[in-house]
């Protein structure tokens, strides 16, 4: 019976997803939930829609993101826009640095 990597993938994707979300918000400067999900999906990042909103909610509560409701759009349903705070930007830099470091370490280990 082959061992599945699903468990490992789920674990590693969780941290990776946060990094990708912060990175995308930095690039876009200002983005709303649905748009964010579309862009992540377009980049081939596997995700469940119901996972993203709770993450955004927590990151906002932690002060990494600032959120504003925008009611100006057509069709009359308000949209919640997210942007990086200074803390969020700092955290993103730290996460990116750590991620790059981990890739470097793995490469080193694989060389033997």
């Amino acid at each position: 019976m082959a061992v599945s990597t699903d468990n490992w993938k789920t674990q590693i994707r969780k941290g990776y997803l946060e990094l990708c979300i912060l990175s995308l918000i930095r690039t876009q400067k200002r983005v709303y939930g649905f748009d964010l999900i579309e862009k992540l999906t377009a980049a081939d990042l596997p995700l469940k829609e119901g996972t993203v909103y709770p993450l955004l909610n927590r990151m906002t509560a932690d002060g990494l993101l600032s959120a504003t409701w925008d009611t100006e759009n057509l069709k009359g349903h308000p949209r919640k826009f997210y942007s990086l705070t200074r803390d969020g930007s700092r955290v993103l830099d730290e996460m990116t640095e750590e991620f790059d470091r981990m890739v470097k370490i793995l490469r080193q280990l694989s060389k033997g």
């Binding site: 709303y32 939930g33 649905f34 999900i37 579309e38 469940k48 829609e49 119901g50 996972t51 909103y53 709770p54 993450l55 909610n57 927590r58 509560a61 409701w69 069709k75 009359g76 349903h77 308000p78 949209r79 919640k80």
Partner: protein, 277 residues
């Protein structure tokens, strides 16, 4: 513009499952999810409401993710509504029968010759303490079925319990990185005095019973199926209340917007939340 009934049902389930959060937080989440659904349908008018909601996931699952991200205890996973109500009805009846039997047993326990091989001393009285670290962030979870619980703030730094149970089963305390749990092992009918350390986050889910909270200097997240909760605030402290009763009544409590206020969140299905003893 009328809202789709399926969407309303989804949002309603989501709202209920988010009960531990403040009402303004719930409202924010519901509007955002509703906006997501509208955006999805705009982007692809061919999509059915069922598909969009399925892509989000079961409302209880989504709610649990919100709660877990905020470090709160998750709600139970979803089951089909019919099965859920059959099970609830059955358990409710069993619970009532057990509660009645336990009540009789307690009433006549002096006349019964209880098993002398029981651990922990005379007639099922159990006491214990657990050293509580200052600045502990993990919630304290009490797992019980039917019970009468008196909550007070601990004068020292330990979490302490003094309980009377039926059968010879002692409550066990265990901890992992998520929580510290006092588990009564499904023993029905438990009567306890609990001393809760200051600033702890206490979480309880009781099926039937009574909860008396006296001058709490800790945070409480309690759910009671049937029964009465009475809360006596410490008048030298401020509290942020989130109280709801599905069928029954809630007395008035003075809620504060202060950041440092103790959060008291109580949800009762059938019963009363009272400000008297």
């Amino acid at each position: 513009m009328p809202t789709d009934p399926k969407l309303e049902r989804y949002l309603s389930s989501l709202d209920r499952a988010l009960a531990p959060l403040l009402v303004s937080e719930r409202a924010d989440i519901l509007i955002e999810i509703k906006s997501h659904v509208s955006s999805a349908l705009e982007r692809d008018p061919q999509l059915s409401m069922d598909r969009v909601l399925a892509a989000l996931g079961e409302p209880e699952t989504v709610a649990n993710r919100y709660l877990m991200e905020r470090g709160k205890a998750p709600v139970k996973p979803p089951i089909s509504p019919i099965v859920k109500w059959l099970v609830v009805g059955f358990l409710g009846t069993v619970a009532m029968v057990l509660f009645f039997v336990a009540f009789l047993a307690v009433k006549f326990s002096d006349k019964l010759d209880l098993d002398s091989t029981m651990k922990g001393g005379s007639k099922g009285r159990y006491e214990g303490t657990f050293a509580w670290k200052s600045g502990e962030t993990r919630p304290l979870v009490i797992q019980t079925v039917n019970s009468k619980i008196d909550l007070e703030t601990a004068s020292g730094s330990d979490f302490a319990w003094n309980c009377k149970g039926i059968a010879g089963k002692e409550p066990t305390i265990r901890e992992d990185e998520k929580a510290i749990t006092l588990d009564f092992g499904g023993v029905s009918s438990v009567k306890c005095e609990l001393k809760i350390p200051e600033n702890a986050q206490l979480s309880m889910d009781i099926l039937n019973g009574k909860l008396a909270v006296s001058e709490p200097r800790f945070h409480l997240n309690a759910k009671l199926g049937n029964g009465k909760v009475s809360i006596q605030p410490d008048h030298s402290r401020s509290y942020r209340y989130d109280l709801s009763v599905m069928s029954g009544k809630v007395d008035d409590f003075e809620s504060s917007k202060d950041e440092s206020a103790y959060r008291i969140s109580v949800n009762v299905s059938n019963g009363v939340i009272s400000n008297e003893e």
